[in-house]
Amino acid sequence: MSLLKGLSARARSLLASRASEARMEEEFRFHIAMETDRLVAEGLSPAEAHRRALVAFGGLDHHREAMRDGRGARLLADFIGDVRYALRAMRRRPGFAIAVAVTLGVGIGVNGIVFGFVNALLFRPIPASNSEQLVGVFSVDTKTGSPGLLAYEDYVDFRDQSGAFSVTNPGNIAFMAIRPLLAVSYESTAPSSRSPV
C-alpha cells in the first residue's frame, strides 16, 4: 500500500506542478511564521525575529530550487525507468513484441492508404481550372428512378443544343490546372472520327 501511495504522490506532483509550487510556498510561509513566533516569545522584536527566522531557514531560493530539482529528477528517472521496463518486457517476449509491431504497422499503413484515397476523391477539388463550374451529366430512368449511363452522342446533343452549359473544350490542354510538359491533343481525332450516322 505504501508503494501505491508513493506512486500516487509521485503522479500528483508530476501532474500538478503548479499545485506543488503553491504547496511549497505555503509550507515555507508557515515555517517562517512559526519560527518568528517562537523567537518573539523568546523576547525578540517581531522584525528581528523574522530576520533570524529567514537566516535559520537558510536561503528560500536555494531550497525552492532543491525542491524543483527533486521533482524534475523524479520525472526524468520515472521516464527512464518506464523505457527500461518496456525494453525488458519486449526482450522477454519477442514474439509478442513483433506481433504488436506488425499489427500497428499494418493498421497505420491501411489507414494511410484509405485516407489517401478519400482525401484525393472527396476532399480536394478536381485539378482543373474553374473546377467549381464542372458538372456531371447522367441519365435517370423516370419509372424506376435508377441512374444510368449517357451515350457520347447524347452528351454531344446536350452540350450543343441545351444551351444550359458553357462548354469548355476538354481537348484544350489549358483546361487542366496541371500542365503536362509534353502532350498530344486528340480533340480532332477521337470525336470526329465517329461521324454521326
Binding site: 500500500m1 501505491l4 501511495k5 531557514f57 527533486g70
Partner: protein, 112 residues
Amino acid sequence: MASRHPPESDALRGSIDLLVLKALSLAPMHGWGIGLRIQQISRGRLEVNQGSLYPALQRLEHRGDIESAWQSTENNRRARYYTITRQGRKALGEEVDKWKRFADTIALILES
C-alpha cells in the same frame, strides 16, 4: 547552484532522511515541528538549515516512506502534517540497524 549554499554531502543527506523518519515515528508533525523535534533529540548538536528538511520530506514522500495532508494547528493555522507509513517504519528499522552495525564495527576497530 549558488556557491554560498553547497549541496549537502550524501552522508548528511542520508542522515537527514533518517532523522526525519525517527522524528515522525513518535507522532505526525508539520515541517517546522519536525525541525524543532530533531533539534531537541540531538540537543542542538546538529547544525542543519531548516529549509533542507523540505527537499528531504519531498524525497521521502515520493519514496512512499511518509505521507502528508493539510490540517489545522492549535493556533488555527493551516499546515502540512507528515505521517510515517508502514514502509517508512520498516525503512527506519533497517537504517537504524545499519547505523548500529557501523558504529559497532568502528568501536571494535578502535578498541583493538
